[in-house]
Symmetry: C3
Subunit: 349 residues, 3 copies
C-alpha cells in the first residue's frame, strides 16, 4: 500500500487550504498546488480568485501581471483574463474568440482560511468541505492563533502519518512538549465519524509548561488526552485536553486546544503545511498566544527536520525494505487505507 502509486499522487476531489484569508490581497501571488501554479488575488469587492497561473498565449507567468479592475493582464504581450476565466482583451485586435478561456478554481472562504477544489470545477462538492467549526475555527468561545504556512520538502502523506502517530511526541518533541510518556502509551482507536485516536497520560505533573500557560491557576495533578483527528485529506489536527486527575475524584475537562495541520500538496514530494492553534481557554491572553506560536514553531521545526530526512528515502528504498508497524500505528494505517480507497475511486472515474 505504501508508498502510494506515484502515477496518481493526489486526491483531487477534496477541499484543501489554499491560503490564510489574510494572505490574499490586491497584489497577486502564486502558490503551487498539486504541481499547478495558481495565482491568488481579490476582486475589488473582496472576493478571492484562484486562476491558473500560466498565460495561454506565450506561457509567461501571470503572477507578474497587473490587475485591471477585477481582471489580470499578462506582462509579456498584454493578454487579459477576467476573474471568471474569460479572455477579455488581446492588444491590437478588435474581437476575442469566446473559446479563449483560462482555468479558474472554486475557492471558498471559511474559518479565516480559503479552501480550493482541485478536481473538476463543475463537480465541486460543498458537502466535502472540512467542518472547521467542529474544531472551533471561527466559532464563538474559541480563538484561532494563525501560525503561517511552512513549505515542507516531504509528500503530504508523510505529514499526515506524522500527525496520526503522536507517539513521536515522546521522542522528537521530548524537550519541547515535555511528555515522555506519550511514546510509551498505546493509543485508543476511535471508529466514530472521523478517524481518530487518543493517548491518555494520567497523573501528570501540573508543572509542565503547556499546563502552566493553559490553566495557570492549577496546582493539582492532571490527566492528559493527546489525540489526532483526520477530517479529510485537507484537514488533520492534533489536540490536547487537560482534565483533573481521575485518581483524585470525578474527571473534569479543563481545556481543549486543537493544533491545526492543514496539508496541501505542492508537488509529489513537497507540501504546504498551514498550522494554527484553536483554543477555548484564556482567549484574551496575548502571552498565551505568543507562547503557543513559539511552541508550535519549535515542534514544527522538529517535525520538518524528520520529514525532510525521510522523504528522499521513501521511493528510493521502497524495494530494499519491508515496512514494519506496531500497535501504535492502527489509526495511521486506517487513514492510509481510506486515502488509498479515495485514490482508487478517482483512478476508476
Amino acid at each position: 500500500m505504501y508508498p502510494f502509486n506515484s502515477e496518481r499522487p493526489y486526491i483531487r476531489n477534496a477541499w484543501y487550504m489554499a491560503a490564510w484569508g489574510s494572505e490574499i490581497t490586491r497584489t497577486p501571488f502564486q502558490r503551487r498546488i498539486m504541481d499547478e501554479p495558481i495565482v491568488l488575488y481579490r476582486k475589488q469587492g473582496g472576493e478571492p480568485v484562484a486562476i491558473f497561473g500560466i498565460c495561454p498565449h506565450r506561457t509567461h507567468p501571470l503572477v507578474d501581471g497587473r490587475l485591471i479592475g477585477d481582471d489580470i493582464m499578462c506582462p509579456y504581450h498584454g493578454f487579459t483574463f477576467s476573474a471568471e476565466g474569460a479572455c477579455v482583451r488581446i492588444p491590437a485586435q478588435d474581437r476575442v474568440p469566446q473559446t479563449f478561456r483560462q482555468r479558474v478554481y472554486p475557492l471558498v472562504e471559511r474559518g479565516g482560511a480559503t479552501w480550493i477544489w482541485m478536481g473538476d470545477a463543475s463537480a465541486a462538492d460543498m458537502t466535502k468541505m472540512p467542518q472547521v467549526s467542529e474544531i472551533g475555527m471561527g466559532e464563538p468561545g474559541w480563538k484561532t492563533v494563525e501560525n503561517g504556512v511552512t513549505n515542507i520538502k516531504a509528500r503530504w502523506s508523510l505529514v499526515i502519518d506524522n500527525v496520526m502517530d503522536l507517539s513521536h511526541v515522546g521522542f522528537i518533541h521530548l524537550k519541547t512538549i515535555e511528555a515522555p510518556a506519550a511514546g510509551e502509551v498505546a493509543p485508543q482507536d476511535d471508529a466514530g465519524q472521523h478517524i481518530q485516536c487518543a493517548r491518555w497520560l494520567t497523573d501528570q505533573s501540573p508543572d509542565m509548561a503547556y499546563a502552566r500557560n493553559a490553566i495557570p491557576g492549577n496546582s493539582e495533578p492532571l490527566d492528559l488526552e493527546l489525540g489526532s483527528i483526520f477530517h479529510g485529506p485537507g484537514l488533520v489536527a492534533a489536540y490536547l485536553r487537560f482534565y483533573t486527575a481521575a485518581s483524585r475524584g470525578a474527571r473534569k475537562l479543563l481545556s481543549t486546544t486543537y493544533h491545526l495541520q492543514c496539508v496541501t500538496p505542492e508537488t509529489q514530494h513537497t507540501s504546504h503545511n498551514f498550522s494554527g492553534v484553536v483554543r477555548n481557554v484564556r482567549l484574551d491572553a496575548p502571552d498565551f498566544d505568543q507562547w503557543l506560536r513559539t511552541a508550535v514553531n519549535k515542534t514544527r521545526e522538529e517535525d520538518v527536520e524528520a520529514l525532510e530526512k525521510i522523504e528522499p528515502l521513501v521511493d528510493r528504498y521502497a524495494n530494499a525494505r519491508t515496512e514494519l508497524s506496531g500497535v501504535g500505528d492502527v489509526s495511521a494505517i486506517r487513514v492510509r487505507r481510506h486515502l488509498a480507497a479515495l485514490m482508487a475511486e478517482e483512478a476508476a472515474a
Copy 2:
C-alpha cells in the same frame, strides 16, 4: 506543433554563430553547441578551428590542453590532435593508427563573426550561409557595435518567438524603448524572400531617446517602422527605421538600425544569444555606440528575465493548456512552421 518534438530538438543543417571573431585566440576555449562541447582556437596562421572537446582516449576535456603549433594536446595522458582532427601523437608509442581521429567542424569567418555547421561536415552547404551583408554586417557605410554573447536558460525557439513578436516592446520594454504603441498596432506580414513583419507607428514624438541619438538634429514628428526579419535558424534580427512623418509630406527614410539576434542552441533548454547593432547613421559617434550598448543590455535583461521564466513551463504544462494566438502572431507562426518543416526534413533524411 509547439513545443517542437524534443527527440530531435535541433536543426543541424544550418550555419550558426559559434563566436565573435574576437573571442577566438591562441588560448583554447570551450562553447557547448547542441549539447556538444566544442573547443575553439586559432592556428598560428590565424585560421579558426572548431574541434570536438572530449579526448577519445580517456574522456578528459581537451579545453584544458595546450596548443603545440597548430595541434592540441590532452592534459591527462598527452594524446595530441591536429587542427584537421588527426591523432598525431601518443606518448611512449612510435606509431599512431591512421584511423585515430577526432571530429572537427566546418567554420567560416564572415562579418566579424564565425559560423559553424553542425550537420555532417561533408554536406556543409555554403549557399545556406546567412546573408549578413543584407543587414549591413561588414559592409561599407555601415557600422556594427558588437554586444557580446548572453547565455539564456531558454530554448532557441523561444528566443526566436520573442524577436518575431515585437508587440512585447509595448509591454516589457515600456521603460527602455518608450514605444507603448508598439503593443497596440497589428503587424504587416511580408511574404517576400525572408519571413518578416513590420509595425508602423506614425506621428511619434521626436523626443524619444533613441531618435535623439540616431538623428540628433531632428525636431519634427517621426514615423517609425519596427520590424522582425528571419534569415534562417541562426540569424534573426529586429530593426528600427526612422522616417519623416507621412502626415507632414512625402515620407523620407532617415536611419536604419538592425538589432542582430543570433541564436545558437547550447542545449535543448539553453541558448547562446549573440547580439549587436548594425547602423547606417552617425558611424563615428562613440557616444551613440555607448548608448546603443546600454539600451541593448537593458532590453536583453528584460527579455532574458521573461524567457527564463517561460522555459521551465513549456514542456511541463504542455498538456495542461492549449496555446492561444492572436493576429500579431502571424509571422512568428510562419517561422515556427518553417522550422518544423526543416526538422521533419532532417528526421526523414
Copy 3:
C-alpha cells in the same frame, strides 16, 4: 565494454574498505556504499557494526538515533535494533515479532581498516579478503600513514583507470611528482598473481624531492620503478621503488612505498577514496610522514579535478565517440576485462 552496463553498476561479492578503524566509534555515523546508507558504530566491547541505515518502521535515518548498550534506537518513534539486526523493542508494545529484523553487513577489521561485504551475507568469502599484508599494511618493518578519505564525484572504475595508467604522472602531476619521463616510457605488463605493471625510469637525478625524503643520504643517480597493482575491486595501489642506478653497477633496492588507493563505490557516479602510504624506510620520521601527507593531498587534488571533469562526460557522450587506447593501456584494459567478467558472473547468478 566501457562504460560498464549501468543496470548493474557494482561488483557486490568483494570486500571493500568501509572506514579506517579510527573512524568507527561509539557515536554512530553513516556512510553510503553502493547507494545503501550504512550506519557504523562499535559495540561496548569494541567490535565494529554495520547496519542498514533506514528504520523499517517509518523510514527515519537510524544514524540520528542513540546507542543503548550494543543496540541502536530510532529517534522518531523509538524502534530499537540489536547489533545482529533483531528488532528488540517497540515502545508501548509487549512483544516484538521475531520476523522484525534489519539488515546487518559482514565487517572485518584488518591492517587498520575495516572491510565490508556488500553481497549476500551468508556468502561472505574470507578468501577474497584483500591481502593487505602483501603491501605492508599492519606488518612489522612497515609503517602506514593514513591519509583519510576523499569523496570523489566520479565512478569507482574511473579511479581504478587512473591508478592503472600512471603515464598521467608525467602530465597532470608534473609539478608535484617531478617525473616527466613517466609519460614517455611504455609500461611492462606483469601477468603474475595480480594484474600489475611497472614503468622504469633510469638514471634519474637524486635531487627529486621524493628521493631526498625517502633516502636522504643519497647523492647518486637513481633508477625508479613506478608501478600499479590491482588486488581486487576494493584495493588498488601505486608504488614507487628507488634503486641504485644499474648504469653504475649492480642495481640495489633502496626503498619501497605503496600508495594505497582503496576505492569503494558510494553511488553509480561517486566514490569513496581511502588513501594512505605504506613504507619500509625511515619509519620513525615525522617530517617524512608530513611530507607524504602533503604530497598525497596535492596529487589527489589533481586527480580528483581530472576525474570529476571526466565523470559527467562518460555516459552522456558514450555514443558520440569511440574510445581510443594506446600501448600504455594494456594493464588498465586487463583490469577492465576482469571487472566486466566479475559483473557478468554476478548477473548470471
